[in-house]
Symmetry: C2
Subunit: 520 residues, 2 copies
């Protein structure tokens, strides 16, 4: 039996869920393979209708989803309601993109004479890569889990999904799967369009299954390596899209400190402590000028941090890692500047927890930690200080010159984001830092905070290793490219072509003989 | 010292080239890294001009290129002139695509209220991934080597290239590199835009170098595995795009045999023996109906094969593999139906060769083989019979029903292409085979031959493992996507944006607030 744990107390309870057997994984993967051909043959409009139904089904189950997830994640109703909205929005956005149709990259080159001689008719579009294994994340029980962007983009591509539920929110995952299945039933999707498996062994078996043609994952480098190793044992390699580890450096210029230090203190505090700092885009390092104005900014962040109440982390592993990494950062030379209230043990809850067998976590009041502000200098900044700490902790690095910042960036692993707070009057600073910022991350944020990832067409939530292992985003419409493969037809009769590649089809943007043509 | 070998005689000669040292590899990779930023900053028009100069430089050197390559590959002047034209055309086509600008996927989402609340301005485009290692192939000394599509698409992306010369045509590679460098000099490209290294150890060092951000390769599964293993030792994985192994099954329907058997015999013979069968798209298996009309078609192919003169293979490894695989196919149950003339030893040449130290190859008249036709039945078709044999050999499989064909396809590795010869009156056959063909390959050819890959926008030269390890093509304009990464800017001042993402830029197709907008 699998258990569910309340992170606020550390108390675990039995569920009716069992780890999925190897036979169960095999059955889910085979059902998905069966659904793949059928989904592809039903065409784009059916997938759009399915995505619309998924959005509606999520909204229908909002209250139960939030209540279930709150008990399993401690993220709170406000944040979880926002995440439910985001999940529903993602499904709707992908429905819109599927109808718009650009993403299949339809191209037609008619037969004709070319500088290289007579050439055949060649037509190309992107089609589903086949069934996709989706690994739910710990920190987004909806938007990066069963109901998340990977599921949305796979279905948009026409790829059935088999989801591996994250162990931190099993009941949420189970309920989420029911929500998907209700949508599938509402539109009559082929059996096997959605599948779910539970347990780490099932996840490993899933990525090794011959019917699975791609995998996507949001989580730790360590877990990703385990999945990649399993994939490497396949006779046929499959693409593995991982969103992994990110430090998200942030730089505040002298001008920005001077113009709006207090505002930045408040914004930065909110950004590194929101969702208990458990966001892949949490700013982990902030470069702040040396000197009095920079000091005032640090003092304000310190005051906010000292006043902060304890925060609940998602599970015991994240809780213990937080403590270990904090110790390593201190050992590497960071100084503790401020620390919020330490967790208070509620004796009654602790007693209940001990009685229920949740002893050690409950004795510390659940998986709670104090928000923490550490400090170093850019000159002293070492690779050891650039370790990602998942939770409400930030390292401030004080700098005396932009050269120091650039050099320190050389010791920071590539990230999903890099942020610059800068004034309009400092165009020279932007020019001096642009290439450093662009090389360091997949998204450059100006005068804002990297947390809060807009779900839209132009979004890029990705970056160089180790932030991801891919050349693609996992948020926004172009995430669909991960689950597609090109297919070309040469001199094909119209009946053998998908409708989007027939001469008389004009409902989507296409490239015809090299020229992009908008819908009629 | 490295040697060059004439495959027509097997005679080797010393060159002035040495294997590139580790220091030399390091220097080339560092120069490429230096060029990367500069290339990106010069923008698209500069890259287009560079590509135009590359096309012109290739044409300028045509005679020397063909003569040098003919001596090293034995492919003959006609084929090599065509390949030079193709290389030049590829550079020009990519110049055109760079100017057209769609490939950077420029997208702008303005700030505004959304169903999820106020959202920031987000803009995205694709930028160079950084320096690319390009591995030249044995069988295309121009179009898939130093002057090939990988070089063209990398430069289009703004990525400097460091090329590993193929050992079978070192002097051609050296001359080709001079051709590239002349183009770079003509337009003042940054130093390090092009680099070249020689020797297998240099190739392995290249893909392990921190400055190299992607690698592309056309060649054998075995060599690809060696490169992938080297890449796996990197702390930061990089994408590796390999075009590897392909059987290219071809099916002839009863209607097609009946309507145009003789034409198909001639076309199929030309396709499997052209370039001595050393094409990745060579049809390796042909399904031909049982019965008299099918027999007549096989007899005609057999007659053409028996009359064929010996063909020169590219190098001794390909020559010895050809013999070994032919033996394995016979051992697996294929029957020899026809065989062309065996190579004749020219005593004078052989004497010269022995004197020059090229004894064993020269004694057999160079790396020549006889074109060969083998036969089996679809019912007996085993995985062992689906081994790729690089050279002028085809296996014919006689079938009694489409079910037999579909089942046999299940034992054929996924390929770059699958071909169907079918009559208009056989729409039912197309319907019955479509999903099998589409699952088996990246390009479906109707009533033609898979050899002869049109270089155009809609081309897809790729496919599922083991034909490639990627979701991309290596021929045609979309090959450029391999060497790009997305980059997003949030709330960026106009001065910090590439010109393509500024509000007032309208020279390329862009997606603005979700709507695709053509150039003004």
């Amino acid at each position: 039996m699998l258990t569910t744990t309340n992170p606020r107390t550390g108390v675990s309870a039995a569920t009716e869920l069992k780890p999925t057997s190897l036979e169960g994984v095999d059955a889910a993967a085979r059902r998905a393979a069966g659904a793949a051909l059928e989904l592809q043959s039903r065409g784009r409009e059916f997938r759009a209708q399915l995505l619309d139904a998924m959005a509606a089904s999520v909204e229908n189950a909002r209250e139960r989803l939030v209540a279930t997830a709150d008990a399993e994640t401690g993220l709170g109703a406000a944040r979880l309601n926002g995440e439910v909205s985001r999940s529903a929005f993602q499904f709707s956005l992908f429905a819109e993109a599927v109808r718009e149709g650009s993403f299949i990259e339809a191209m037609i080159d008619h037969a004709g004479d070319t500088p290289l001689g007579a050439a055949p008719d060649v037509r190309r579009m992107l089609v589903s890569i086949g069934p996709v294994a989706v690994f739910g994340s710990s920190n987004f029980p909806f938007a990066f889990s069963v109901l998340g962007g990977d599921t949305a983009s796979a279905i948009a591509a026409g790829s059935p999904v088999v989801i591996k539920a994250h162990g931190s929110h099993l009941l949420t995952s189970q309920l989420s799967f029911d929500v998907l299945q209700a949508a599938a039933d509402a539109v009559g999707a082929p059996p096997g369009t959605f599948g779910i498996v539970y347990g780490q062994d099932a996840g490993l078996a899933l990525v090794k299954h011959p019917a699975i043609k791609a995998a996507s994952f949001t989580g730790s480098l360590f877990a990703a390596e385990s999945l990649q190793s399993a994939i490497n044992t396949r006779p046929d390699p499959i693409p593995f899209f991982g969103e992994l580890s990110s430090i998200n450096p942030l730089v505040v210029t002298p001008g920005a400190v001077s113009a709006r230090g207090a505002e930045i203190a408040s914004g930065l505090f909110t950004s590194f402590t929101g969702s208990a700092g458990q966001l892949c885009t949490k700013p982990g390092i902030a470069f702040i000028p040396a000197g009095d104005e920079g000091q005032a900014l640090v003092d304000e962040i310190a005051a906010l941090t000292s006043d902060a109440t304890p925060q609940v982390l998602l599970n015991s592993r994240i809780r213990s890692s937080f403590g270990e990494i904090e110790e390593r950062l201190l050992a590497a030379g960071a100084a503790e500047v401020a620390r919020g209230d330490d967790p208070v043990v509620d004796d009654a809850v602790a007693d209940d927890a001990v009685a229920a067998g949740g002893a050690s976590a409950a004795a510390s009041g659940g998986f709670t930690v104090a928000p923490t502000l550490l400090e170093t200098t850019a000159a002293d900044f070492s690779a050891e200080l650039a370790e990602e700490c998942f939770g409400p902790l930030i390292v401030v690095a004080r700098y005396s010159s932009l050269d120091e910042v650039r050099e320190a960036f050389g010791r920071i692993p590539k990230s999903l984001t890099a942020t610059l707070h800068v004034e309009d009057s400092e165009a020279d600073v932007v020019a001096e830092l642009s290439s450093t910022l662009e090389a360091s991350a997949g998204r450059i944020v100006f005068n804002g905070y990297p947390t809060g990832v807009r779900v839209t067409w132009a979004q890029h939530h990705g970056g160089s290793w180790p932030s991801t292992n891919s050349q693609h985003t996992s948020v926004g419409v172009t995430a669909v490219r991960r689950f597609l493969r090109p297919l070309a037809w040469q001199n094909a009769p119209a009946a053998a072509l998908p409708e989007e590649l027939r001469d008389d089809y004009t409902a989507i943007p296409r490239r015809v003989d090299g020229t992009l043509v908008l819908p009629a």
